[in-house]
């Protein structure tokens, strides 16, 4: 297959994926740093490069509501947002998931107010981790582009039928220009295939009620059905990641392992920090510290068993959390990993750092230091540490 090599920012890459996906409907509201995605996409609409009905609305709450309406009418539906926009969608996110509408959203990670801040952290996505959406993180523009294409297939698969969000790190990926390999329109179109919606509220031949009240008698059963769909999403993500590899040359799974096979210490993180960590690992290995990285790609559903198995051999674990859970016990990622290890009967020293909140820079040296710290500590620590904190 002939790939085109271009220079693109994360936002441009996601907009390009949306152009190739050519959704029936997009309903969106602008918000930094995701604005560009829909801005670029709106020019595609204007230039007739897509057949999309672009609905401009007055808020993100309305954007997601319009997406729910459109998806319930059987249209392939997409949107993009960030931070306050995502959390303003909060109540409709749960509805989209419970109605099993495979809406795909680009979410550019940005800190949540307050204090008000426009830069990257993962607080927005983590605030919606229980909404029932599939959550896929990207390390760079290429992954953002690839993940958008795969997310359509994952979300729309019959045994899944759940909405999915693909995230990039605000400004770091969204506005950083990188090398991007794009695939021919026809190949992407072939890969995503025709959309066969789970139901269609506008089908007059078969009238249905969508969103009816379910009280004490069947609410529990509805949630169980969603739970099973989320389990199926795990399988779908693997299957489609493999198929994507066969067609486009890069295979995707639940997480990426980097030099973990002989690693004494493994660091777990999400998003662009994985790139920084890879550079730190190269340098540390020169110093004789055997370290490796696990970059989680799929956060919802959470690959607990697989992660526990991957972390089984190492001597110590570092978990970097780019958001706060405010439970004073662990960040959102570390909480999940601790639970996964407990279920697998694995107890290991673990250091959990909160870092990069509100776009605070993380340097190679910071990551080298967290590896050095865990290599000297054999007991681990339950204390949540703040990385790069100004103490005085």
């Amino acid at each position: 297959m002939e790939k085109t090599i271009v220079a693109r920012t994360g936002n441009e890459a996601m907009a390009e994926a949306m152009r190739q996906i050519n959704p029936d409907v997009c309903a969106a509201y602008p918000i930094t740093p995701a604005t560009e995605i829909m801005q670029i996409f709106s020019s595609f609409v204007n230039d007739g490069l897509v057949n999309t009905n672009l609905i401009t609305v007055e808020s993100e709450h309305s954007a997601m509501s319009a997406c729910v309406g459109s998806a319930a009418a059987g249209a392939r539906t997409m949107t993009a947002t960030s931070s306050q926009g995502l959390i303003y969608m909060h109540e409709i996110l749960f509805i989209a998931a419970s109605l099993r509408l495979p809406i795909v959203m680009a979410d550019v990670n940005r800190a949540i107010s307050g204090p008000i801040n426009i830069h990257c952290d993962h607080s927005d996505t983590m605030a919606e981790r229980d909404s029932g959406w599939i959550q896929i993180f990207s390390e760079n523009s290429q992954e953002a582009y690839d993940n958008m294409i795969q997310a359509i297939r994952i979300a729309e698969r019959k045994d899944v039928s759940l909405p999915a969000m693909v995230t990039t790190d605000g400004f770091i990926i969204s506005h950083g220009m990188e090398r991007l390999e794009t695939y021919p329109d026809a190949e992407v179109k072939k890969f995503i295939g025709e959309y066969n919606p789970p139901y269609n509220v506008l089908n007059l031949e078969k009238p249905i009620t969508v969103g009816s009240i379910v009280l004490t008698d069947y609410y529990l059963e509805h949630k169980k059905a969603q739970h099973e769909a989320m389990k199926n999403a795990k399988k779908a993500i693997l299957d489609i990641g493999k198929e994507f590899g066969k067609v486009f040359g890069k295979e995707y799974g639940f997480f990426e392992e980097y030099k973990t096979s002989d690693a004494d210490y493994v660091l777990v993180c999400l998003g662009s920090t994985a790139g920084t960590t890879k550079a730190a690992i190269e340098e540390l290995r020169q110093e004789g510290i055997k370290c490796g990285l696990i970059k989680i790609r799929m956060f919802r559903p959470f690959p607990a068993e697989e992660l526990a198995a991957a972390l089984k051999k190492c001597k110590g674990i570092v978990v970097l959390d780019r958001s706060e859970a405010m439970n004073t016990q662990a960040g959102p990622v570390a909480t999940e990993i601790k639970a996964a290890l407990y279920d697998a009967g694995i107890a290991k020293p673990m250091h959990n750092y909160i870092y990069g909140l509100g776009g605070r820079e993380i340097y190679i040296e910071d990551i080298k230091n967290v590896f050095r710290n865990i290599s000297k500590d054999t007991k681990g620590s339950n204390e949540v540490k703040y990385l790069g904190l100004k103490e005085a």
Binding site: L99, P198, T209, Y218, L220, H222, A225
Partner: protein, 135 residues
């Protein structure tokens, strides 16, 4: 007539919990009723207001004319009595002041003047059963 959904467990639910049309036929709102509307055919002018305003399908139509209630679908909301042009304003006043206490005094069977004017009136379920033979 729609088919009654056969939902036993979570696996029987439609994706997203969507419901096929016409299933309200299987839902007997009459179970909730504490007051019952009574129709007096001799006073009815066939305006069909009650049929148009009934939020369920309690009012049956036969040969283009209003027929007897289907009480299985009547939750006793009283919209029909409210909208009936042959009901006196007295019943509205009493309903607003005290919906239960004085119902007997506006009972069509006991109040000949009222009975003359009312096509539809709301009475308690107990009274209806006893005096009008409604089940």
């Amino acid at each position: 007539m729609s088919t009654k959904p056969n939902i036993k467990g979570w696996k029987d639910l439609n994706v997203g919990g969507v419901v096929e049309s016409g299933t309200s036929e299987h839902f007997h709102t009459g179970d909730w009723r504490s007051k019952v509307p009574v129709w007096q055919e001799k006073n009815c002018i066939q305006c069909m207001n009650c049929w148009a305003f009934c939020p369920d399908h309690a009012i049956k139509v036969k040969d283009g004319k209003r027929a007897e209630y289907d009480y299985a679908y009547c939750k006793g909301c009283g919209v029909c009595a409210e909208e009936c042009p042959k009901t006196t304003i007295a019943i509205n006043a009493v309903k607003k002041d005290d919906p239960n206490a004085k119902i007997d005094s506006f009972d069509g069977a006991k109040n000949p003047t009222f009975a003359e004017k009312a096509a539809i009136l709301m009475v308690s379920l107990k009274d209806a059963k006893e005096k009008f033979g409604v089940k």
